[in-house]
């Protein structure tokens, strides 16, 4: 086989694997949606589990996301001010922070923190259950692992991610105002007014729409990696690592696609 052919084969195999993997994620999502529309008894139990998951993965993430988003706000303001100062346009710091945080960094940073906390936990939980035969036990009790474990996680993440993003947006803006008040001639009130004037609803909405998809991606990848783990403790660790790395990659790809779409539709308007 000549080198060009070999290269082509490698690319082909990798693409096929990527398609199969994505198909697996979609199937997991589809089966979970079906499960949520199953009998009312099961739906009630799924809701209970979703609330439990939302507390763990959502409410539990608030302190760390607050801190990180606040610092990111300060950093953005500092970096922006560095350049804006030379132009004598320090008053634009507020809008720079507001727009970058709500459109991009809020959702992305939130997603990355949630991947680290919940995506990895999903993979580790399900992989451990595979290793300790707990998944087999569920199956022999006629309890579908997807209904029991995955569907509540999808529900919790799709609801919690947007909530966390709104909170992260607020904390990012507060971080920006921290610099604005101390380092640029804003008062807290004038910074907030400048932020409000800079933002349109669309900025926040695009971030929220993205974040729902991020939540679904994080759940799907985490659970899929958990289910496909091999035997033994080492494999659980590997699955967890893969879940984190693949989730970050897929979240960035989804982010790119959505940002491009938003840009294209906005450009037409």
């Amino acid at each position: 086989m000549n080198p060009a052919m070999r290269y082509l084969v490698i690319v082909g195999d990798a693409s096929e694997a990527a398609f199969v993997y994505t198909g697996g994620l979609a199937q997991l999502f589809y089966r979970s949606v079906l499960a949520l529309f199953a009998s009312p008894l099961k739906r009630g139990r799924s809701l209970e589990r979703a609330i439990h998951q939302a507390k763990l993965g959502g409410v539990g993430a608030v302190p760390i996301i607050s801190l990180i988003a606040f610092f990111i706000g300060v950093i953005l303001a500092l970096q922006g001010a560095y350049e804006l100062r030379t132009l004598g346009a320090m008053q634009l710091v507020a809008s720079l922070v507001a727009i970058s945080v709500t459109r991009e960094l809020g959702p992305l940073i939130t997603a990355i923190v949630v991947i680290g906390r919940s995506g990895s936990a999903f993979a580790a939980e399900i992989a451990t259950m595979r290793v300790t035969e707990e998944l087999d036990a569920l199956e022999t009790m006629a309890l579908n692992p997807v209904t029991f474990l995955v569907a509540p996680k999808f529900l919790a993440m799709a609801l919690m991610l947007p909530c966390l993003v709104i909170w992260a947006d607020l904390m990012g803006v507060l971080g920006g105002s921290f610099f604005g008040v101390l380092g640029a001639n804003f008062t807290f009130a004038s910074y907030m007014t400048a932020t409000r004037d800079a933002l349109v609803l669309r900025d926040v909405m695009t971030g929220l729409v993205k974040s729902i998809v991020f939540g679904l991606v994080i759940t799907a990848v985490g659970c899929q990696e958990g289910f496909s783990t091999g035997p033994g403790a080492e494999e659980v660790g590997k699955s967890t690592t893969r879940a984190v790395v693949i989730s970050i990659f897929v979240v960035v790809v989804v982010d790119l696609v959505f940002t491009a779409l938003f840009y294209a539709t906005q450009g037409a308007a």
Binding site: K42, E125, T132, E134, D136, A137, L138, T140, A142
Partner: protein
């Protein structure tokens, strides 16, 4: 025993990749009997059990429970079969994030629609049956190995199954605990005349609880019969197993070497 068998396996072959683990197993298990599947490590006994409950798919042949072929059953048929069986796993396989009580009530909550107070009472009864009264609020990680096994029995019993499967019920337990488990199985047998399938390599416990013993060796059944009949078996592998004689592979190697050195 003219009834249709509760479980029947026909020409059952199971493969993992290229390696065949069961080479055409035929076995009928009748309602109300306790069958012990006896075999050494790697004999395929756990695989046979997992195939009988539908956790492994046979490569060829079939397993029927109550007439339903597990390989071709729809998800709905499979679920109705699963509600009639209970499986106590070797390591317990209790759901680690739930308490012992929640583990036992799980199938009841999901499948029955009984009200919570009834379920609570049932959980307490099941725990009492296995000698774990008062442990419903413990997490599985707080229990010893033997207690986990007993909690797993209680969970397997929770739906009052027609057929109960045990995977190595006394493996890794001290003799007193193991005897307790044997007693538990005997009690269940007397009280409910349940169909029970027990996979084990413990000879004493096998002879104590079994109506019939199936000896599995390297993926094939080498003997089936009542305990008494089996004790008098002359089949070399059965004898070797019952008399606890080690495999002679290592002797063969020594003989082989001696042949070379002495011949020279």
């Amino acid at each position: 025993m003219t009834d249709a068998p509760a479980i029947s396996a026909r020409a059952l072959r199971v493969q993992f990749g290229e390696r065949e683990v069961l080479h055409g197993v035929d076995l009928d298990i009748y309602r109300g009997e306790t069958v012990v599947i006896l075999g050494g490590s790697g004999s395929g006994k756990s695989t046979l059990l997992r195939t009988m409950v539908g956790l492994e798919k046979p490569h060829s042949g079939e397993v029927r429970i109550g007439g339903v072929d597990l390989a071709t059953a729809s998800e709905r048929e499979m679920d109705s079969v699963r509600r009639k069986i209970g499986l106590a796993f070797q390591s317990g396989a209790l759901i680690g994030s739930l308490t012992v009580g929640e583990n036992i009530s799980l199938p009841l909550l999901e499948h029955t629609g009984l009200n919570p107070s009834t379920i609570d009472v049932m959980v307490r009864i099941k725990l009492e049956q296995v000698g774990l009264s008062g442990f419903e609020h413990y997490m599985p990680s707080q229990l010893s190995g033997g207690m986990k096994k007993r909690a797993a029995f209680a969970r397997a019993l929770s739906m009052d199954p027609e057929i109960l499967f045990f995977d190595e019920p006394s493996a890794g337990l001290d003799p007193i605990m193991a005897a307790g488990i044997d007693n538990l199985i005997l009690n269940l047998k007397e009280a409910y005349s349940m169909t029970m399938v027990v996979v084990t390599h413990e000879l004493a416990s096998a002879f104590l609880i079994a109506d019939r013993i199936v000896v599995l060796d390297r993926g094939s059944i080498v003997a089936v019969g009542p305990a008494k009949e089996l004790r008098e078996s002359t089949h070399p592998r059965v004898r070797q197993f019952l008399d606890r004689v080690p495999d002679s592979d290592s002797d063969d190697e020594v003989d082989h070497l001696r042949l070379f050195t002495e011949g020279a």
